[in-house]
């Protein structure tokens, strides 16, 4: 079985994000990049199946420029067997649907039968791409998966259903699985893996190579456009209650009841 892992690079989770221009978005020049943390669970799920010999290949799929190759190399160093970087002038400015069309076409072109993705990326937090990829391929999708069993023909997935309840879903293959925290403990790369990753080739493919219509992706095809960027409103300053303990407790209870209305 050939498994695809959708890998996205995102600003490191402790980055301080600044607005570059309200029309253009955030400043990314000084940002440190990392693999989207949810994608690390996806990669680990795939590598575990490779270790168990359920999978024969684990292919990383990334939409992006050459600057994403460091993250792809990291994935290869952990044990992925191949990588495709999807890069084409026509891809620029794609919205989630455009990105999903690119990825779905690549999944098809690579002959992949099971796709693991993070349930969402921590930059845009859209949580749309994995489901859209499944829909475009006509495959089943299970999202927010935190426990999984894969057999040759299908998968059984568990996820939180709210209130402590568990939702158990069975899905036939091919399928797309959106991975959540708790699914596994992502492994560290090894030095041998790093040396081997050097010898693995990252294939760069454009629209023609994966058979996606260039007119269906990119800025011109985007259904969603971002119109404005801004900082969250500044937090109002806190209030320090005055008086002795008894007076302050009284004032605090009154504020929680009458102003904040939480008790």
């Amino acid at each position: 079985m050939k498994i695809g892992v959708l890998l996205k690079q995102v600003p490191a989770s402790d980055s301080r994000i600044k607005i570059a221009d309200p029309q253009r978005g955030v400043a990314l020049d000084d940002v440190k990049w990392e693999i989207n943390p949810y994608d690390e669970f996806a990669l680990e799920a795939a590598l575990a199946l490779l270790d168990a010999k359920v999978a024969s290949d684990v292919v990383l799929l990334t939409v992006g420029g050459a600057d994403t190759e460091q993250r792809i190399r990291d994935g290869l160093a952990r044990g992925a067997t191949a990588a495709v970087r999807l890069d084409d002038a026509a891809f620029g400015g794609s919205d989630c649907l455009g990105v999903s069309r690119i990825l779905a076409a690549a999944v098809k072109a690579e002959g992949i039968t099971l796709v693991f993705a993070g349930k969402q990326a921590i930059d845009g937090d859209n949580a749309q791409v994995p489901a859209m990829v499944a829909e475009l391929l006509g495959w089943g999708y299970v999202g927010e998966v935190d426990q999984l069993e894969v057999t040759g023909a299908g998968a059984k997935a568990w996820r939180a259903a709210g209130g402590g309840a568990r939702d158990v879903v069975e899905v036939g293959l091919p399928a797309v699985i959106g991975c959540d925290k708790g699914l596994n403990q992502p492994r560290y790369a090894s030095l041998k893996g790093i040396m081997m990753a050097k010898r693995k080739k990252i294939d760069v493919k454009g629209a023609g190579a994966i058979g996606v219509d260039a007119g269906s992706v990119g800025a011109s095809a985007a259904l969603v456009s971002e119109t404005n960027w801004g900082e969250p409103p500044a937090r109002p300053p806190g209030r320090v209650l005055q008086g002795d303990d008894a007076a302050r407790v009284k004032a605090l209870v009154a504020a929680l009841r009458d102003e904040v209305k939480v008790i």
């Binding site: 460091q70 160093a77 560290y188 090894s190 790093i194 040396m195």
Partner: protein, 397 residues
């Protein structure tokens, strides 16, 4: 919450590293953040080495990582240096464990051992399934190892070892020891002996390795004595391809090289903590980082760490292309340990009373670096090595 650690890179040294070297550095940095820093103070207090980390160190491939073949990763010496730097940011004990296993125990087998010895020991040592230690120093012979009194004599198809070694990192937990002893010819005296390397295994008759206690430094490391009382080992345990002090000195040069990088990790941990503390500690209504005396200290740390990084990187490149000579290693080991220890002391001072608490890493590093200043050739001995290189006159004795 303290700010997340970022390595100092004032002169954009990153641009001079290969992708693999950066990946190794980032891998070990992340591992130290995740696995070492949360537990190291506990082990330091308890005088215990974190044994639970040993399999992970093996799985990552850090042991003997700059050696070729026999299950070793075959990476550059610069990559090895960067790994040492990150490990010692955690604690000198962790870096010492890796240094001893790789540079002092695996290296002599790799360089001076028989093919059978290499096949038998190295792959398991690379995976941390066998732990090694290195016995050169004796109670009465530290800076003068040539005076050693541990001796080996032939007895049929065995060697019989007698003597004692001291200050042996990993000794008690080791499965094998590389022991340097004088091989005495039949009917000869100690003065006739030639220094040879022997592989002594745990469980060999007459061999014991009691742990030393009472250390104020390198508390999270196991330090031991090695005792040989008519210890009999088979003859195929001698390292066949080296005679004399060249053997142990070759090991020490490799370990000193790793130290010259490692201590920069400890220095950066102290710098990071001092900067963070100075920016958040308010005295006279302002962060203490606003005061010129404090800024002067931080600027000095930045200056010395940056110089030390350039020294270590260039030394590593020379080691990789085979042009490095051992006096250059002495200079880097001596200089970088010296500045790291001073940085740790000044960082301790900048933390005020808080600096003596193990809530901050500075006093742990400061105490560790006192050991690092002494082991693998003391500061003064390295000066004498350089003095001999400059003048051509040895001044050791």
């Amino acid at each position: 919450m303290p700010a997340k650690y970022e390595g100092l890179d004032f002169y954009n040294i990153d641009a001079h590293l290969t992708d693999e070297e950066r990946m190794v550095r980032d891998l070990v940095r992340q591992w130290v953040d995740d696995k070492v820093l949360p537990i190291i103070e506990k082990h330091n207090r308890a005088h215990t080495f974190p044994d639970e980390l040993i399999p992970e160190i093996g799985e990552m491939g850090l042991l003997g990582m700059n050696m070729e073949g026999y299950g070793c990763a075959g990476m550059s010496n610069v990559a090895y240096g960067l790994a040492c730097q990150e490990l010692e940011r955690g604690d000198s004990a962790i870096r010492s464990f890796v240094s001893v296993q790789g540079s002092l125990a695996m290296h002599p087998i790799h360089s001076f051992g028989s093919e059978e010895q290499k096949q038998k020991y190295l792959p398991k040592m690379a995976r941390a399934e066998l732990i090694g230690c290195f016995g050169l120093t004796e109670p009465d012979y530290g800076s003068n190892p040539g005076g050693m009194v541990t001796k080996a004599v032939e007895d049929g198809d065995h060697y019989v070892l007698n003597g004692a070694k001291m200050w042996i990192t990993n000794g008690t937990i080791a499965d094998l020891a590389i022991v340097w002893a004088k091989l005495i010819p039949q009917g000869g005296t100690l003065a006739d002996g030639v220094i040879r390397g022997f592989i002594v295994e745990k469980g060999d008759p007459g061999f014991s390795a009691p742990e030393m206690h009472g250390k104020h430094s390198l508390k999270a490391s196991v330090t031991s004595e090695l005792v040989f009382e008519d210890c009999r080992i088979p003859k195929d345990r001698i390292l066949p391809h080296v005679h004399g002090l060249r053997g142990p000195f070759s090991c020490l040069n490799n370990a000193r090289y790793g130290i010259s990088w490692g201590v920069l990790g400890a220095a950066q941990a102290c710098f990071h903590s001092a900067r963070d503390y100075a920016l958040t500690r308010i005295q006279f209504d302002k962060p203490i980082a606003s005061y010129q005396l404090v800024q002067n200290k931080l600027a000095w740390m930045l200056r010395e760490i940056t110089k030390g990084q350039l020294l270590a990187l260039h030394l590593g490149r020379m080691k990789d292309d085979g042009t490095m000579f051992h006096e250059q290693v002495s200079l880097a080991k001596m200089n970088n340990v010296d500045i790291a220890l001073d940085i740790a002391r000044i960082a301790r001072d900048m933390h005020g009373a808080n600096g003596i608490l193990d809530e901050y890493p500075v006093m742990r590093h400061m105490a560790n670096l006192e050991t690092v200043k002494t082991y693998e050739g003391t500061h003064d001995i390295h000066n004498l090595i350089l003095g001999r290189w400059i003048t051509g006159i040895q001044a050791f004795f």
